[in-house]
Symmetry: C2
Subunit: 242 residues, 2 copies
């Protein structure tokens, strides 16, 4: 059974402020929870409707019914389980290899999909501007499908971070060089811009290599690619010859 | 003002069955509606909260207030306008060039994003299995950002269609050839599979070229790419040397 206080706590974790105050977040579904358990995330408590997760010590595991799960879940169709984890301390930034920097990505689904892509392409470090959606937002956690445990994410003042780096800084713009014909290094920072406004003008000034993904459809018609699909194309292009 | 009958009609169009019965669908937002008006879609009626769209004849245009828009909108935060269009007759399949075939794509956001990618990469023809989500679903129309007017989409029995084609048929699998090292033609059919199950076993038998997108992250960890991001990588790879 889940207590009223537990329901109150978990409901609070839907909001960024309460996640910060409690230093807790939650994940749903067997696959995502298993991946977090197997990595370095510290379990606070597991709520499950099934007699599963036998490896989790019984004091940290509560059997609940579907009505109770519905009360604490962020999903319209709840899975079978929900687990509350401690938010780990931010690790040191890995400042070599390919780094993805996100300039105010606001949509949780986009951030989750981007982290999944980073995991696929072996990108170890993601740098987010302070205005980027919180990675512990339940929709982000869900969309990462567990990748959150394998990509190092830091929130920084992006201007300050980029101003001090010695790595080349890549951004995509309408007037950039054709990415398919550019020589792309294995160390560098790739900036992805906000869904509506693209890369902000302050960040644009710090870009050292302007790239473009050529369009093949009717000119002037397709306005833009979704930021997650653009990230997919760019990471594929940086990695294909590595 | 919008009448009760109009509200009933438009609310019905949220469902596939009523779209089929009435042969109507709707789109929301200035950008998407403008793109549909400029292409060959026939306007049934436009509802707008602003005195815009002056080029639309007044008998087909109704000024409504925000409360009325909220009643007919499919969006949680309605835009300023909603337009009902006639569903056009399916055009003949263009059976040359690169064709994308969708084997039971169920998520409207994924289908919309895929159509936007096709538009970007100049893919003129998309073939959907009968189980693929309806392109006139409001969430698909919205996610296409207007691309729906520039990509020819047909719903067919995919097995039958693929069994008769003379074009090479490409699919991505865990055990396929590295897509980055494969010679990719400019004519062919690329199959994208269902979100949960991938390419179905019946369709897999018809594939003539098995490809794979290599993963660069930890082996056996990242289970899969989202179907829209996988489509982005595959289309980029087919088009980059064209």
């Amino acid at each position: 059974m889940v207590s009223k206080n537990q329901i109150k706590l978990i409901s609070g974790l839907h909001q960024k402020k309460q996640r910060f105050v409690n230093q807790l977040f939650f994940a749903e579904g067997v696959k995502v929870i298993q991946e977090l358990l197997q990595s370095n995330f510290e379990l606070e408590h597991l709520y499950t409707t099934l007699n599963d997760f036998e490896t989790v010590q019984s004091s940290k595991r509560t059997l609940i019914n579907e009505q109770e799960l519905k009360k604490i879940s962020a999903l319209s169709t709840p899975n079978s389980c929900l687990a509350v984890f401690k938010i780990p301390a931010e690790k040191k930034i890995i400042d070599s290899g390919l780094i993805l920097a996100l300039d105010d990505i606001r949509d949780p689904g986009n951030l989750g999909t981007i982290l999944r892509l980073c995991d696929w392409f072996g990108i170890k470090q993601v740098i987010c501007s302070k205005e980027t959606v919180d990675i512990y937002n339940p929709k982000v956690v869900q969309a990462t499908m567990g990748s959150i445990s394998r990509v190092n994410v830091n929130y920084v003042d992006l201007n300050v971070f980029l101003a001090q780096t010695k790595l080349p800084i890549f951004g995509t713009f309408m007037d950039g060089d054709n990415i398919y014909q550019s020589s792309l290094p294995q160390d560098g920072i790739i900036i992805m811009g906000n869904e509506a406004n693209g890369i902000s003008s302050e960040i644009e000034k710090l870009v050292t290599s302007r790239l473009t993904i050529p369009r093949f459809g009717e000119l002037q018609k397709t306005e833009s690619l979704n930021v997650a699909t653009a990230t997919a194309i760019i990471l594929s292009e940086f990695k294909r010859n590595s």
